[in-house]
Amino acid sequence: MSAKKKTPVAATAKSKAKPKPKPKAAPAKVEAVVETKKKKSIRPRAPARPPEPEAEAEAEHEHEHEHEHEHEHEHEHANEHDDANVAEEIRALEERLDRLIVEAGGKGEEEAPPSRSLSPSSRDGGDEQGTVFDTARELLSTDFYLRRWGRLGMRNRSEEVDDFGYDPVYDTRVRPVFDFLFRRWFRVVCDGIDRVPSTGRCLLVANHSGTVPYDGVMLKMAMLREHPSKRDVRWLAEDFVFHFPFLGSFTNRIGAVRACQENAERLLRQESLVAVFPEGTKGIGKLFRDRYKLQRFGRGGFVKLALRTRTPIVPVAIVGGEETNPLLFRLEAFSKLLGVPYVPITATFPALGPLGLLPAPTKWHIRFGEPISTEEYSAEAEGDELLVGRLSERVRTSIQGMLDETLSKRESVFFG
């Protein structure tokens, strides 16, 4: 009877164990092995889609359950030779694999993973020298870094970026800084923000200011903090910002996109809220004496874009940005070398070094104008130079009007 009972169980246990050996000591480490094995068996014929992240997590849970079952089986049939052999073999293999993975870092002759060898020595040693030595050893072992910054550690952190490089997780991590800038430093006041539609594509057209442009980020924060829909703003950044070392990838991860027609059109077709600064580099590089005087609006590219994609335009006036880093002089001598259009000379930069680029705590006002609809124009209107020019001028005067009005009401640069 016992033989009858045992054989099928043994067979199932075997069949279960053989194709995908379950990791015991370090499930995450051998997971990769299991994955590839599964995939390889499928590959030649039909490319199977690997499990989605959630599905993967579920699968891992299942693995754990199976684990327990296996343990039970092992207890039940401890006397089974085959069974025990297989389990033993797997365990030996896993231990070997673990050791190899640990050693892979270049720590050649270590017998066991440092985490295991650590605890006894620190217990019986007790003296301070031993602890320091152990800590140092742990820090020097590659396993420590693998756990913390290696692939295994990183896999759990979401590093998903969207098509344009926006990293929502990273954005939430740095948001407190911008929250502080928005609420405490610039004390931004928004006016008429409900003119921005809650859904659907929309183009915000704003004036550009400040030697270091904070206006894109502040517009984004305004929409997140003040607008009922908490919509995300994608703003278009100038090439030199976008490709400046560190700054470029940083602004990209928090939502900026390189300014070009293709990108803007793609974003609008995804029904996003896009902010553009048609003044471009000329806007940032305004000298202090020219503050709040709108520069030329290029060739009206943003109007063509709006006409092509049937997007409503909301003019936006940002007051306060010009005084954050008052630009006294543009040095164009080293611009090519540094990859910037000019080297700014402000009251504090370069005199105070990088610190000199910190923004002054000016009081900011962001005003949103009446939306300009492009619905009534046909798709061919894009080619109508006169119409493009007229609309462009209309947006420009609207922004300039709002700027002048806000400036005339403003009593102090720092307190509004």
Binding site: E35, P47, R151, E159, P245, R253, C260
Partner: protein
């Protein structure tokens, strides 16, 4: 090699034009049959009943050749290859040419590469026209768009190929594309499909990118974190199969969904990034390339700074190509396989 010859038909079989039995179904000729894509594509074509015969052409025989495949050892870089190819195409009655004879990784032997890729493509296409082949499928790469600060986030097929012409790896492939366009122009009723694949990633593919990501320390550009895009090897092969099965003229970007920042790619691969200031990167790369310490010449440095990501919408809408793996999944698949190989290497080395 002996087992190889039992697998395939005799390679140096004397050609008797017109004597080859007209097999039912299409006759697909492949150049670069031993390349990664070629060898795998032969495997797929072997299994397809709609394909009558596969004519594999390469300097060395592919290992995947089966019953349907006839292997001819022709070196496209040799001057006489044109006539020989025309002869083979005519004798076999080839209806489709899949031109895959391109190198996957840059090499210092630039003169030979020029002969193979640029001149070789010309030879193959002239032979194809002579033999009356009406359907051409050419392998190209999205890397040819070039990494430029002025690139939009997604490059469409209409975007000009702006990779540096000073680099033979790019220049020869761009010339090959131009050659294909000329073929389309001059051959009435021709169906020319150009598939521009993103970096092919997967457990078995090998290229300079997989080598780059297999380093313990991976050099990057300090302060730059461009978005990268991959296509899984299975998807890339499937795209070529799709192009063989259907007549879809045009140029298509074959890419996986999604993009990954280079920093994430390196983290997922479990490697350590070594940031290098970009002003000195080209010089360092030049030195490394001359000493064969790095995988690519300096003209590849911009790809570590700027975007070169293609839009796969056209392949999806017109061609009906749906990648099964995203860029991330393709990379993870490569990484898991690479990890196993690393462990195996450790076991073997003691």
């Amino acid at each position: 090699m002996a087992s190889d010859s039992t697998l395939t038909k005799p390679r140096t079989r004397p050609l008797r034009p017109g004597a080859a039995p007209r097999a039912p179904g299409a006759v697909v000729a492949l150049t670069g049959a031993s390349s990664f894509l070629g060898a795998n594509l032969i495997g797929l074509l072997e299994e397809d009943d709609a394909i009558g015969r596969v004519v594999a052409i390469d300097a060395k025989a592919p290992s995947t050749a089966g019953k349907k495949t006839r292997v001819y050892e022709v070196d496209l870089a040799e001057p006489g290859s044109e006539a020989r190819l025309a002869e083979i195409f005519a004798a076999e009655g080839a209806t489709t040419l899949v031109h895959l004879a391109f190198l996957g990784s840059p090499t210092p032997a630039t003169a030979w590469v020029h002969e193979l890729e640029s001149v070789g493509t010309m030879h193959a296409l002239v032979a194809a026209r002579q033999a009356g082949i009406r359907k051409l499928i050419l392998r190209s790469q999205t890397i040819l768009y070039g990494a430029h600060p002025t690139n939009p986030n997604f490059l469409t097929e209409a975007h000009p190929l702006r990779a540096s012409r000073d680099e033979p790896f790019f220049a020869d492939k761009i010339e090959a594309e131009a050659e294909a366009a000329r073929f389309a122009e001059r051959t009435p009723g021709a169906t020319v499909t150009i598939l521009r694949t993103a970096t092919v990633m997967g457990p078995t593919v090998k290229s300079f990118v997989t080598k780059y990501l297999s380093r313990r320390v991976v050099p990057t550009m300090m302060g730059f974190d461009p978005l990268l895009q991959f296509v899984h090897e299975v998807d890339a092969i499937a795209a070529f199969k799709l192009a063989v099965d259907r007549d879809i003229p045009g140029t298509f970007n074959i890419v996986g969904d999604g993009v990954l920042p280079l920093s994430t790619v390196i983290k997922l691969a479990g490697r350590i990034a070594l940031p290098i200031p970009h002003p000195i990167a080209e010089t360092l790369t030049q030195l490394g390339w001359m000493a064969q310490l790095v995988e690519a010449p300096p003209s590849f440095v911009p790809y570590l700074r700027f975007l070169c990501v293609a839009d796969g919408a056209r392949a999806r809408d017109v061609m009906g190509f749906r990648p099964a793996y995203t860029s991330r999944e393709a990379l993870l698949d490569f990484v898991s396989a690479q990890r196993l190989r690393d462990v195996k290497l450790l076991v073997e080395s003691g």
